[in-house]
C-alpha cells in the first residue's frame, strides 16, 4: 500500500461529490459522464448545450492545474501501459458497455448509489469485480502470489 494517497483521494472525492450536488441543486440533473457524453453527441439539440458545457469544464480542469507553480501542483501524470490493440478494445468495451448498462463509475457509482438505486448497486458490484478479475488475469497477480508465497 506504499502508493496509497488518502488525503488527495478525500479532497478529490469531496470535489466530485460537490460537483454532483451542484448539478442536482442548480440544474436538477444527474452527473453521469457516459450518459452526458452520449446525449451531448447524439441527443436532441435542446438537451445538448448544458452537457457540452459540463464536459468542457472537465476538459479545462487539468489546464487550470497547469497554472499552479510546479512544486505545489498535484501530479498530472497519465501513465498508460496498454498496447494500441488493448487501448482500442478497452475503449470499445467502455463506450458500448456504459451505454448498454446505462452508466459508469460516476452515474452508477456516485450518483446512483447515493440515491440507493438497486440497479446501480448491481452495476457497481459487477464492473468492480470484472475490473479486478481483468487486472488480476492481465498481470498474473494471483499466480504470482501463489507461486511466490507472501510478498
Amino acid at each position: 500500500m506504499e502508493n496509497f494517497t488518502p488525503v488527495s483521494a478525500l479532497i478529490g472525492g469531496t470535489l466530485i461529490g460537490l460537483s454532483a450536488v451542484l448539478l442536482m441543486a442548480l440544474n436538477g440533473r444527474v452527473a453521469g459522464i457516459s450518459g452526458l457524453l452520449g446525449t451531448a453527441l447524439f441527443g436532441a439539440p435542446g438537451d445538448r448545450a448544458w452537457r457540452i458545457c459540463f464536459l468542457g469544464g472537465m476538459i479545462a480542469a487539468p489546464l487550470i492545474m497547469l497554472l499552479i507553480p510546479g512544486e505545489a501542483r498535484p501530479s498530472l501524470a497519465v501513465d498508460i501501459t496498454a498496447s494500441w490493440p488493448l487501448l482500442i478494445l478497452g475503449g470499445l468495451l467502455v463506450g458500448f458497455g456504459t451505454r448498454l448498462g446505462s452508466g459508469c463509475t460516476s452515474g452508477h457509482g456516485v450518483c446512483g448509489l447515493s440515491r440507493l438505486s438497486a440497479r446501480s448497486l448491481i452495476s457497481v458490484l459487477v464492473f468492480m469485480a470484472v475490473g479486478m478479475v481483468t487486472v488480476t488475469l492481465m498481470r498474473g497477480s494471483l499466480a504470482g502470489l501463489i507461486a511466490g508465497g507472501a510478498t
Binding site: G28, I59, A61, A77, V78, G90, S114, A129, T134, L145
Partner: protein, 142 residues
C-alpha cells in the same frame, strides 16, 4: 444561459476532483483493481467521499420543490435489473480493467494524455456509436 454556466462550473469542479485524486492516472486506477498485487485503496476513498457528499447533498437539494435554476429534478426511472444492465457492466468492467480509464477521466485528460488517450477516446466514441445500432429493448426503455 445560467444553466449552461452552472453545468460548466460543475464540470470544472468534477474534473479538478478527478485530477487532484489522480483518478486521471490509469496506473493508479489499475493499482486499485489489482487487489492481489501492490494494492492501492485510494480509489475506494475517492468513491466513498464522493458518495458521502452526494448522498447528503442530494437530500438537501431535494428539499426544494425544484432545481434553483428552474425545471424539474430529472432522476433515472428504470428499476428493472436486466441482462442489459449486467452485460453492460461486464463489458465496462473489462474495458476499464484493460486500460484503467473510464469515461470521466478519459475526457478530462484529453488535452494532456497524448496519443494513448486519443486512441482510447476514439474507440470509446465508436463503441457509443455502435450501441446506437443495437435494437431498443422490447417493452419499456432502459
Amino acid at each position: 444561459m445560467m444553466r449552461n454556466l452552472a453545468a460548466g462550473l460543475a464540470g470544472l469542479i468534477f474534473g479538478l476532483g478527478l485530477v487532484i485524486a489522480q483518478m486521471t492516472n490509469p496506473a493508479k486506477v489499475l493499482a486499485f483493481l489489482d487487489i492481489f498485487g501492490a494494492w492501492d485503496p485510494s480509489l475506494a476513498l475517492v468513491m466513498g467521499s464522493a458518495l458521502a457528499v452526494t448522498a447528503i447533498g442530494y437530500r438537501l437539494a431535494w428539499r426544494r420543490r425544484g432545481p434553483v435554476l428552474g425545471g424539474d429534478f430529472a432522476l433515472p426511472t428504470a428499476s428493472q435489473i436486466d441482462v442489459r444492465l449486467a452485460a453492460g457492466a461486464v463489458m465496462f468492467g473489462a474495458g476499464w480493467g484493460l486500460v484503467g480509464l473510464c469515461p470521466g477521466p478519459a475526457l478530462t485528460v484529453l488535452t494532456i494524455g497524448g496519443p494513448p488517450v486519443w486512441i482510447f477516446g476514439t474507440a470509446m466514441l465508436a463503441g457509443m456509436v455502435a450501441f446506437r445500432f443495437l435494437p431498443a429493448p422490447t417493452g419499456k426503455s432502459a
